[in-house]
Symmetry: C2
């Protein structure tokens, strides 16, 4: 690279260039200090091994680019009073963001002991990647950050989610060229097809091509600018390129391109907001090609470092043992001329510090990066208004999610800028279609006459990408808004890792005092394993429950409402909550309804309770039939009904668990029941047949530590399935009413002898079912009954 | 659409056109029959409700396009003797593939009772989506398929994996426009950057734009051909477009474009293989725009169906109750003129059936889609040759994965076309770099002088996409080759759902008699939670174990070798196996070595055993210290050592579990121990402190059903972590040697009173550690010891 760039304008005066370069040098210097130094922060004396940390951690390679972008954003934030936050896809460049936030003064406001002087600088260095200090990545303790960048791939979805319904916000989203290889990142460029400039803010993606990952070249760095131009234009972007390794030239070129991009975004927004344009605008994107580890050591031990993968982390190692390496480090640090940058007390000189915007315009202090500060609670009508009033208990069917749809419809109506549903093209399929009375699907492309509820103004976010849905919702909630991600149960596992990472963020944020509470991330899993009888085995997988329960008890919440009224109560609770991962699991098909609204409220408040109305002499039961989940509840109540009819002497208690974490011992989860409560519900000695929606291991785990839990016999999804009938699904996995009756006879002492009749009945019916299934296409008339499901 | 297409050549004679159209009509007809009919398959009489299935399932919308592509591929397979398989991204179009495979005769060869006549046709219809019949998706029982397409997004990665080291194979990969919105699909176009035409086969992607998903428009369908051209060209493809809704015109245009694409692929390959070209060729891609549900009902109840989302599944419903709907179905079926297509006995007329290729060239019979037929076992040298011979037990450290690297290096050498490593740019980081002695990283772009072991001929597959790595390996193994996916432990969760889907495939395949055994899919998770002390919380997540153990016992295998010799033994076992998901978890950092090779072989064969050499009077122990995983083993042995020293009267048995599924009751997993074996190892009554690598719930689940498992006290990863020291990680999660000693004193009756000294010692040391951590950057000299880890 020769420092030539594609943009020739020189917008910076010599003085401005000098000051901006000084900021950049200071940030680079502080970067290196964090990686290496435990003393002598201002290099007052020649470096010795006593000044060096015992363990060198941190990522240098990406940092000079991140620093460059930061100072150039500062210029424009000041010039145009921009409301801007910064997301670093290469979040392992943690020291870069920390350095800039310290330079601008935000850091010291959040952490007063990290003062803006030599002592503070030393603490800044020492705390980095040090036990008890701050993590090596851009993480929760980093002011200005809502994106860690530890697991790569999500910077754009977080950025786009943050700007939805956030018209003033501009997110500068740096995409690493390593990150750009991930599937989720590749799939998130399309987010501009869902951004409406009249009501949404804007994202400025900056693809930072520094050529290498940990050790290999990146895919995009080996494609030409022509390729990249086509790639971006094809997706609706207008790309700008800056390339070089001569700082002054890159400063000028980047300043020019960044300003052009920002002005184009403002122009797009002002035209759209004045009604002068419609449709999908051509949003700018910047491609920045600079060397990996730019300005770092060029050669170490005869090997090129700058511009290669060797600059990825610590570009010169063994400084404790190799004097010549220590000399390279000394030279490298001094190349930034720290004495020019910091005064005698270690304070960043005012002439450079003045480049920072003021107050909340500083990217480290922008409230959008601490979204709880901006959170407005949802306006929620009384959920009892939406209740399903049945005429006869356990006789009428309705799709419970369709009842929830009415509730969500009014949330859309009452919260026109504060709530969105995110869903992979399944809103109708999931029976939530009532919301289309108020809002449409969002798409910023041409709308065709045959389209159903699709418009540019729509705020129902449907895209066939669970990654986009989840990531957008994360960005939306972390900037203080509310939402729900509704998806087919099995395909929630596509975002297992995103859920884990967001859960870790929420967990950590609870321990960072200045982080304000943010709305919970709410999941509605529907089209569940038990009722994917039509789609078959690939659509049957309840494993997302396992992912959520592994998060810390401070954030993990799992609800399995069995009917519409319970679902309403649970949803209301979740939508009012903060800082949780709330997982709600319920199928969408018409299903029997069990509880009145009054009963449902009491039950959901308790989280788990005895359902007297479905029990027989529940006070001193011979057996407890417990259930969690809609189909388990159906089969359990049916089994109780069969037992009442065919084994009238048997005392059967029916227990339903709607809040799964209630099963946990009280010392393991805040929702956990005391042992006394647990005994009240499950008795001390009766056998318990527990029928669970998901994998039985979840219940085994939750029950661990309870006395006498060997009397619990857990049934659940056994990874059996195909395209078949709903009833065959419960038979295959042995949770059918017939299996449960047989289990009761097996585990209640003496029951089999006393109630042999029902054992015969159940066995006969299972054989009959087996004949039904095996008869299938040879003898079709007979199987017209095969939808027999309750 | 007016039927105009961008390609004007007319390669088909009138007669050929007629015959191909007839095949297409026949496939469409059979599609609809599968969805609707339970009788009257040849429409000998007017349709009545008695001919209709009781429940209408299946996806019509995508099917006409899938059928069109099938017959056109047949033409070229015959003309050029192509070795071709078909992958349907929109796998919900199951009836389409089944129809074509039946028409070509393959189906009847696999399923003789589905004869090629009227009776067979009726069974074909009746079995579809019927209990006991075949699933609604392209699935394991579908001949010619190695891609279900239930969970969308993976068709290209499967296709590209299938052609690696498979130079004769051409995969026609149909990408749905819904699927194209997913992250994994968007991220897999780049696969051509890793395909070397000299030694790999080719993928021909066909992006099928039919405009709609379940209910909304697709993103790409609303972009122009110009946009798509740029998008594909930017990524190195040469796009061809076919658009229309007039069958004859589309036939001609598609025939022309498909032949052009196939010839270009052959030209690319022949130039590369003759040495006439190098570098990344411009591979063709086809964009096919046809109406959703093409040739289906145009209008039903006044609403447009063909060309809209309403054609997605069953385009005309309620045929049992609405006579006018039944009439529409009758008209629709007759529009294909079944009497022209099938003879009086229901046989597909020979003049049309002759379009099919012969024998194994038929896509339903191609052995690449039943890859076990092609599998050649790996050449594996004796793994004992690579053993680590220590001079003193438990005193020497080595990176166990670096030992494995030597073994893998020789596998690369001995199996130059039959084995690949897939890894997100971490081969060196994961200490497997020895393989670079034999092969390079693969990249088909310009190679720069500074690149390290990167070449066009490289066969080490590094791409920063876990989705690509996993999907490529799936395609590679399903076509009969062998491989290993090595990745950072936490980021394995990115592919949780892919692992689930592949596990389901393997499970189902075991029950399909004609499916031959395929090599296992092997995972090596390294850079584990316990040793991501430097990267912090986002890199600490052992949840992938949970994903694997939820697969059926027939396929789920989990190994936690504690040292290099155990790792070698386990790896050898996994690489020889078939049909499993083999998960191996071990960290990459230098670690203490516990067993000689002879001991390791015995131990791994047992799966779990008492380690006498680390126990004290193990015959009648007061306590069992059990462990699974490298760091748990280290802490457990250290605790045993401390107890021996400070509580010499205590009898301590050390147990190690390398094959996790051994813990399972024998009736739950084929590796499960009998109760007698279990008692031999864990005793009948002694308290067991079980230290586990992952979440404790995994062990709770596996132990469920064992007698007296309340005496097991499981310790594991508690979702605690940050950037800190290795030792602090085990302290934070309470599995440190000090915690384990304290646990022993707590659970062994009377031990605390008898051995108070060690309790004080441990408590003091934990306090000292706490001071270390809290001292951190304020008092750095003191914490030079903070790497204290064993």
């Amino acid at each position: 690279m020769d420092g030539n760039t594609k943009s020739v304008a020189m917008p910076l005066s010599a003085e401005e260039l000098h000051r901006m370069d000084a900021w950049w040098r200071a940030a680079n210097y502080l970067n290196i200090g964090q990686i290496y130094l435990s003393a002598n922060p201002l290099l007052r004396e020649k470096l010795t091994v006593d000044h060096i940390k015992p363990r060198l951690l941190g990522h240098w390679g990406t940092s000079p680019g991140l620093n460059l972008i930061y100072v150039h954003l500062n210029r424009l934030i000041k010039k145009y009073d921009l409301d801007t936050i910064y997301m670093a896809g290469p979040g392992h460049g943690g020291p870069a963001l920390i350095a800039n936030v310290w330079l601008e003064g935000s850091y010291t406001e959040f952490y007063p002991d990290i003062t803006r002087d030599e002592a503070g600088m030393l603490r800044l260095f020492r705390q980095f990647s040090t036990p008890g200090g701050v993590p090596s990545h851009v993480s929760v303790p980093t002011p200005g950050s809502i994106h860690e960048g530890g697991e790569l791939g999500y910077v754009l979805v977080h950025a786009f989610g943050a700007v939805m319904d956030n018209p003033a916000l501009l997110v500068a989203a740096v995409v690493g060229d390593g990150e750009a290889e991930t599937g989720p990142l590749a799939g998130s460029w399309k987010s501009i097809d869902f951004i409406n400039p009249t009501r949404d803010g804007a994202v400025l993606p900056i693809l930072h091509l520094n050529g290498y990952k940990i050790s290999g070249p990146t895919v995009w760095a080996r494609h030409s600018d022509e390729d990249l131009t086509k790639f971006f234009e094809g997706q609706g972007y207008k790309p700008y390129f800056v390339e070089g390794d001569v700082p002054e030239k890159v400063h000028q070129a980047f300043a020019s391109v960044l300003e052009t991009a920002v002005l184009e975004i403002r122009e797009i927004q002002s035209r759209a907001r004045s009604g002068a344009s419609h449709g999908r605008p051509q949003w700018p994107v910047i491609v920045l090609r600079t060397p990996k580890g730019w300005t770092g050591p060029k050669i170490v031990d005869g090997l090129q470092i700058e511009g290669t993968f060797r600059a990825h982390q610590v570009p010169v190692s063994d400084v404790l043992t190799k004097p010549e390496h220590l000399q390279i480090l000394d030279d490298w640090l001094r190349s930034y001329k720290p004495e020019e940058l910091f005064d005698g007390a270690g304070r960043f000189r005012a002439e450079f510090a003045d480049l920072a915007p003021a107050g909340n315009r500083r990217m480290g202090s922008n409230p959008n990066a601490n979204g709880g500060l901006l959170t407005v609670p949802l306006k929620l009508r009384d959920f009892e208004n939406y209740q399903f009033k049945f005429e006869e208990r356990a006789r009428q069917r309705i799709g419970s999610t369709s009842v929830l749809g009415n509730y969500l419809r009014d949330i859309y109506e009452d919260n026109p800028h504060n709530f969105r549903l995110f869903c992979p093209d399944e809103t109708n399929s999931n029976r939530l279609g009532a919301i289309f009375d108020i809002s449409d699907r969002c798409l910023i492309s041409d709308i065709l006459p045959g389209d159903d509820h699709v418009s540019h103004d729509g705020r129902v976010m449907e895209v066939l990408s669970e990654h986009c849905c989840h990531g957008w919702l994360e960005g939306y909630t972390l900037t203080g808004r509310h939402g729900l991600f509704a998806t087919y149960e099995a395909f929630a596992m596509i975002v297992d890792s995103m859920s884990m990472q967001h859960g870790k963020w929420l967990e950590h944020a609870k321990r960072v005092p200045w982080r304000a509470d943010v709305p919970s991330l709410n999941y509605l899993l529907t089209s569940t394993c038990w009722r994917n009888d039509h789609n078959g085995f690939s659509h049957q997988g309840p494993g997302f429950i396992d992912t959520v329960i592994h998060r810390k008890p401070t954030v993990a919440r799992v609800y399995l409402p069995a009917d519409a009224n319970c679902l309403l109560s649970v949803a209301d609770h979740c939508l009012r909550s903060v800082n949780y991962l709330n997982l709600i699991v319920i199928d969408k098909q018409p299903q029997l309804q069990w509880l009145t609204m009054d009963e449902a409220k009491v039950h959901c408040a308790k989280g788990a309770s005895v359902w007297d109305m479905y029990s027989k002499q529940p006070d001193e039961p011979d057996v407890v039939l417990a259930c969690a989940g809609d189909i388990p509840t159906q089969e359990t109540i049916a089994a109780a009904w069969m037992l009442r009819k065919h084994a009238p002497g048997l005392k059967v208690r029916v227990v339903n668990v709607v809040d799964l974490m209630r099963l946990s011992p009280a010392d393991r989860h805040p929702h956990g029941m005391t042992d006394a409560d647990f005994t009240d519900i499950f008795t001390q000695t009766a056998p318990v047949i527990f029928t669970f929606h998901g994998y039985p291991g979840v219940i085994h785990d939750l029950l661990h530590g309870r006395d006498a839990h060997d009397r619990f016999h857990v049934r659940g999804y056994l990874e059996e399935g195909t395209t078949t009938t709903p009833f065959d699904m419960v038979v295959l996995n042995r949770i059918s009413r017939l299996h449960l009756c047989l289990d009761v006879l097996r585990y209640v002492p003496g029951a089999l002898i006393e109630h042999g009749e029902i054992a015969t009945l159940c066995t006969d019916m299972l054989e009959e079912h087996d004949r039904y299934i095996r008869a299938h296409f040879d003898d079709l008339p007979e199987i017209k009954d095969w939808v027999w499901s309750d």
